[in-house]
């Protein structure tokens, strides 16, 4: 294994690519009781079009998430969750737009837990009966999201922003699309994207890095298997489909989420640099130490729920901000005006340095969270970057870059807003 030291962060990372193509990354944390392991595929809800062994496929929306649910069953009526529980560990999983992650945390029996994790994620087993049963559960999950304002407002915003990029479709799919999912489709997607060459195993805890790699090799074997080629050439212009999308729900006060479309950041360390520039620009524009935040807060246009940042995903990127407000459109106008002002006047060197110091400090503090750190290592891995290199990227950023970003991005023609208003008072008794 290769050892990378990051003395500035007091971290060490061990990494190896196994003969089967799997990347293993281990961050030892001596003296901690808890260990956590993430076994992750670079496959999420946006990867429904792909090629495998010469064939071209189009899978129904929601299949990555459905597959995640179904991985927890093994042949012979084995229940993965119960097996982890018997080892004193807890296991869970999530599906995002571009990743599916399976993870456990434990305070004992780490090796056994790791074997079980690797085994169940690499064992496809789908019967018609269990796939049908799962539909009821996912139906309820979709229902829950339809009642959750945060999730509705975001899905509406994505549909307003993007014309072709599949981020416009909810991660869970729809009640209709999940009806098309069959055991055969699940097997196909598993074969395409759960090959070791498309996956990362990331472990943090008081563990021996070499033994982690050795266990992975034993369980998964040395064979290299084909990986599905994701078709990701989605054409997007920088103008949203709709500038506004509005609906009414059971909420206490109006709530909004808005975004400015940005050029995709690409991959590698240049991409991360662009992301960090955009994060600092977001901070300068509407962060808690910005003039705009103070003004909006003192005007009563926002409250402490207000906040945002830069979001990036294969093929798309956006500057987002959301919160509760009695006048979401006034918030949008204020942001547009302030964006214009900052793109002309820029920010002072003193402010810029303070922001960088604060952003760096917050990222260092964030490293204490094993889950957060695992998640970031995985997410950055799939965009081709070593997360622990963030301090050097920060050092390198100049303040003119912030100004340039704001001038380019914070423009009315790039903006869409999604608003949820309360159902009117009369109907709410």
């Amino acid at each position: 294994m290769i050892q990378f030291d990051y003395p500035e962060l007091d971290e060490t990372l061990y990494q190896e690519i196994l003969p089967n193509g799997l990347t293993v990354a281990v961050v030892p944390r001596r003296g901690f009781a808890r260990s956590t392991a993430y076994f992750v595929t670079g496959y999420g809800s946006i990867h429904n079009q792909f090629r495998l062994e010469g064939e071209r496929y189009q899978a129904p929306a929601g299949v990555a998430h459905y597959l995640e649910h179904k991985m927890f069953e093994l042949p012979g009526d084995r229940d993965v969750t119960a097996e982890f529980a018997a080892l004193g560990a807890s296991v869970n999983a999530f599906t995002s737009y571009d990743m599916t992650a399976y993870y456990f945390t434990c305070t004992q029996a780490f090796d056994q837990c790791l074997r079980l994790l690797l085994e169940f994620v690499s064992t496809p087993y789908f019967t018609q009966e269990s796939v049908d049963r799962e539909r009821g559960i996912i139906d309820q999950e979709i229902g829950m999201n339809l009642d959750a304002p945060d999730s509705v407002i975001f899905d509406n915003l994505m549909a307003a922003l993007y014309e072709n990029h599949p981020i416009r479709i909810p991660i869970l799919g729809t009640r209709e699309s999940i009806r098309e999912i069959t055991p055969e489709i699940l097997s196909l997607c598993h074969r395409a994207f759960y090959s070791p060459g498309n996956m990362l195993l990331c472990v943090i805890g008081d563990v021996n890095p070499k033994s982690v790699a050795e266990i992975a090799r034993q369980v998964l074997g040395d064979e290299k298997r084909p990986v599905g080629e994701r078709e990701t050439a989605w054409q997007e212009v920088m103008t949203p489909v709709e500038a506004e999308t509005v609906c009414a729900m059971e909420v206490a006060m109006p709530t909004f989420s808005m975004a400015f479309k940005c050029e995709s950041t690409g991959a590698g360390s240049e991409a991360i640099r662009r992301e960090m520039v955009a994060d600092l620009a977001a901070e300068a524009l509407f962060g808690e130490s910005s003039e705009l935040y103070l003004w909006l807060y003192e005007q009563g246009l926002i409250d402490s729920s207000f906040g945002g940042g830069f979001e990036t995903l294969e093929g798309c990127a956006m500057l987002c901000v959301s919160g509760d407000s009695n006048d979401p459109r006034a918030v949008r106008e204020a942001i547009l005006q302030e964006g214009e002002r900052l793109s002309q006047e820029g920010i002072s060197q003193e402010e810029f340095l303070r922001m960088k110091r604060s952003a760096l400090g917050r990222r260092i503090r964030g490293l204490d969270s094993m889950d957060g750190t695992c998640f970031r290592i995985c997410a950055y891995h799939f965009s081709g970057f070593d997360y622990f290199r963030f301090p050097e990227i920060y050092r390198d950023i100049r303040r003119e870059e912030i100004q340039e970003f704001l001038g380019r991005v914070v423009r009315r023609e790039r903006c869409a807003i999604s608003i949820i208003y309360p159902l009117d008072g009369e109907e709410r008794q």
Binding site: A85, A148, A248, V251, S289, S304, G361, R362, I364, D368
Partner: protein, 426 residues
């Protein structure tokens, strides 16, 4: 592991020195009885303190000061622990070893806390009116926004109805009407009063030695005229009449909440058995409720139970299809009946033990978890360290867990259902 420093009468600092972390935390809590007449004021107070000081007169000034301290964060801390409510501040900050040479974090942070607590800009014998009014609006909107998360909302409604006669039925942040009634002078007077009479608990986790932290924080509450009065001990639930309630709303999924009472609180020996029973019954993805209502019968996506040890309450909540309420409730009760009969396997009991022990072991893995465990345990009279708690959990037998289940009595049912009358789309 935890050092306790009595800094002054009624002012306690607990320190956990631990060099493993990249961040430290410090909490300051004024401990109050949970009471309708002051709950809203206690909830509002820290948000007003965080609006500005004489030296940093607005939110922006406050944030810039924290940015200079490597992005330290200070946030309002308002907790409910059984019959108590705490009000104060919680800080998270980067550890000293990552600063540029010559920079300090903890000392300037302590100075800044002193400023936040004691240098509020005043007018007419009270806090600034604009600060108080805008924070009142924010607090009211956070109270209103509990409606947005239907699960939380439904659980709040259940507890409110179930504990009408007990302090536990009071919402943690107070009622809207009480927030509206607050005025800047009254709030300032209340603050002066509670500064002089409340027990104060501070908790530090980080790399600095306890004596250093104690020396740094001792002057904070050395106030002339301070005479802290001890709090009345925690009490068991004072029951109110049982009931069954349904509320309708524009939702596509129903939320069923059931509340059970038990004489077992965290001050009793059977506490560990009750915790385990709760896990077997509805805590997590291997519990009876999850396995049966969700996995076997596809009745719901979410289902689980919760044990409030400070009061002796167990709640169950499930997100269900509105038409399946009867079926779901019957199944929830049937699973409890099975627990009472001791119909769980040794594996289920062991898994529950492992889960609880594992989470207790992990307490020492994060500053926030350490602070959360000890700061709450001390106040709720749970006199156990995580290590002693682990011992108690290990010793529980299956019949003891079943006996804990036998003590549970269904008290209140609350159902949030879809509205059946159609209404016009907007």
């Amino acid at each position: 592991m935890i050092e306790t420093h009595s800094l002054l009468p009624g002012v306690t600092l607990r320190c956990c020195r631990d060099p493993r972390f990249k961040q430290g935390c410090l909490s300051i809590q004024l401990v109050r009885p949970m009471a309708a007449q002051e709950a809203a004021m206690n909830a509002l107070l820290p948000t007003v303190l965080l609006r500005g000081t004489t030296r940093h007169p607005d939110l922006r000034g406050i944030t810039m000061a924290l940015d200079d301290l490597y992005g330290a964060a200070v946030s309002p801390l308002v907790r409910r622990v059984g019959d108590y409510q705490t009000t104060g501040l919680y800080c998270g900050f980067m550890d000293q070893r990552f600063t540029l040479p010559g920079d300090r974090v903890l000392e300037p942070l302590a100075d800044f806390l002193q400023e936040l607590l004691f240098c509020s800009p005043l007018e007419g014998g009270g806090f600034r009116e604009d600060f108080v009014e805008s924070e009142k609006r924010n607090l009211i909107s956070s109270i209103d926004c509990e409606l947005n998360d239907k699960q939380t909302y439904a659980m709040g409604q259940l507890l409110k109805r179930m504990c009408r006669e007990d302090s536990f039925g009071l919402p943690r942040l107070g009622e809207k009407e009480q927030v509206t009634a607050i005025d800047p002078v009254g709030l300032y007077r209340h603050y002066q009063k509670i500064l002089l009479e409340s027990p104060i608990e501070m908790f530090y986790v980080g790399s600095a030695p306890g004596e250093e932290v104690a020396a740094l924080l001792k002057p904070l509450f050395d106030l002339p005229g301070r005479e802290p009065a001890p709090l009345a001990p925690q009490t068991d639930l004072r029951p109110s009449p049982a009931g069954e309630y349904t509320e309708t709303m524009e939702v596509s999924q129903g939320k069923l909440c059931l509340g059970f009472t038990t004489p077992i609180t965290n001050r009793r020996e059977e506490f560990a058995a009750m915790q385990l029973l709760n896990i077997i019954y509805g805590g997590g993805m291997t519990s009876k409720l999850f396995m049966n209502l969700r996995e076997k019968q596809s009745l719901c996506y979410s289902v689980g139970s919760n044990y409030y040890g400070s009061k002796g309450i167990v709640t169950v909540s499930a997100g269900i299809d509105c038409g399946k309420r009867e079926q779901a409730q019957q199944e929830i009760l049937r699973q409890l009946e099975l627990c009472r009969q001791g119909a769980f396997t040794q594996e289920e009991l062991n898994a529950a033990k492992q889960a609880l022990i594992s989470s207790l072991r992990a307490t020492h893995d994060s500053p926030g978890a350490i602070e959360g465990y000890y700061a709450t345990a001390t106040l709720s009279s749970l006199g156990l360290t995580p290590e002693a708690y682990i011992q108690a959990v290990s010793a529980v037998t299956a019949p003891q867990a079943a006996r804990a289940a036998e003590t549970l009595k269904l008290h209140t049912a609350y159902f949030l259902s879809e509205r059946t009358t159609p209404h016009d789309p907007i």
